[in-house]
Symmetry: C3
Subunit: 158 residues, 3 copies
């Protein structure tokens, strides 16, 4: 019974840790903390942004934040707002799906810059839960973006 309680507690802690990890992405991106942001990923982690290729490893992922495109966005004023996520736990692996919406300040107004499907593959290791791979794709009507949202959910409900 005690073991049962402990394993149920562990599952909740895992979900909480994953939720917290993903909730840190936006604040780290929008405050420009490139090094801390990269540490959300494993050392061989991948951030695949649809249409912009893949960044692999901490240096490359930090480079996305340090690069001119993101720095210009920060100067304008931006918010990377991530939605609540649905999470599938599977031992030391997990998948989470949700959305990211980027708002940009432009001439005194806020515009919706990007709306993307997000699929996160996460792993538990010596440093706790980290992102192994994040796939983003603009929800612009393409089947590829919709596919990012469909996998883990379908797996669970069947």
């Amino acid at each position: 019974m005690r073991d049962d309680l402990a394993s149920r507690l562990q599952a909740l802690e895992d979900r909480e840790a994953i939720r917290d990890l993903i909730a840190r992405y936006g604040p780290l991106a929008d405050s420009g903390e490139a090094g801390d942001l990269a540490q959300l990923w494993t050392s061989d982690g991948i951030y695949a942004v649809g249409g912009m290729g893949e960044a692999q490893g901490h240096t490359a992922i930090a480079g996305l934040i340090e690069g001119v495109v993101h720095q210009k966005l920060m100067q304008d004023g931006c918010a990377h707002v991530l939605s609540p996520i649905a999470i599938e736990l599977d031992g030391d692996d997990a998948v989470a799906v949700g959305y990211s919406v980027v708002f940009r300040h432009d001439a005194g107004e806020f515009v919706v810059e990007r709306v993307s499907a997000n699929r996160w593959s996460l792993q538990r290791g010596p440093r706790g839960w980290q992102v192994h791979r994040r796939d983003n794709a603009l929800l612009d009507g393409t089947a590829a973006a919709r596919a990012l949202l469909s996998l883990p959910v379908a797996r669970r409900r069947r």
Copy 2:
């Protein structure tokens, strides 16, 4: 003491299950998985969309996703982004309130198509937590939409 821990754990698990259930709505809607989406509801569940009537039961709710309006939205590119929710647990019943924001891709840009108040009535049954009734209303200044947001919160704070 062990029973106390177990009941506290159960309450957290209930809240987590409800949060996860609601977090699945958007990804299922935007990937067009009508059948799986309908299974979020009980077999007699209702989805009441302000100004568009009520859909009751799995076939009718799946029909909202399979219908021409939603299919057109998916072709354009859309995201049904649901906010975090406030949850009131009451045994095998629960109420949750929050927001849904629908973004649509239009001529290379993203527009805010709809912003709605959401009130969810949930029930725990043999298949776990499911939606018994979801009420949506556009936040367009009408008192009915505001009322959806006010009930469970007021109940708790008094």
Copy 3:
């Protein structure tokens, strides 16, 4: 071991209580429940809105909701949509960071009225977790807004 389980459970309950507290802000604001909204704060709590000064105490915070600016927004139709938050627990204190996005209904469409960084300082007292201070700042490119997002995250990752 039982104590260990109890303290782990407590930490999850604390995080859940804080998440729920913050999820109530939007629904209370958008349904105009000024008194209940103010009770989210401690009696000496502060709501500091960048560029608009600070409101301290329940009467002053309720006044923000009862004031003409907010009442006009409600008449137009509005949604104060708060993002998921990253939370740092430290005993009876906590810090949470996230975003708030205000949508306004305007001539049949929804516009993005404000996008702000939010930093919450929370305290546990006899009435449970309450907000001690909330700082908001428009993400308009100013360093002050970015700074609100950077603190607790940086503290944790080091």
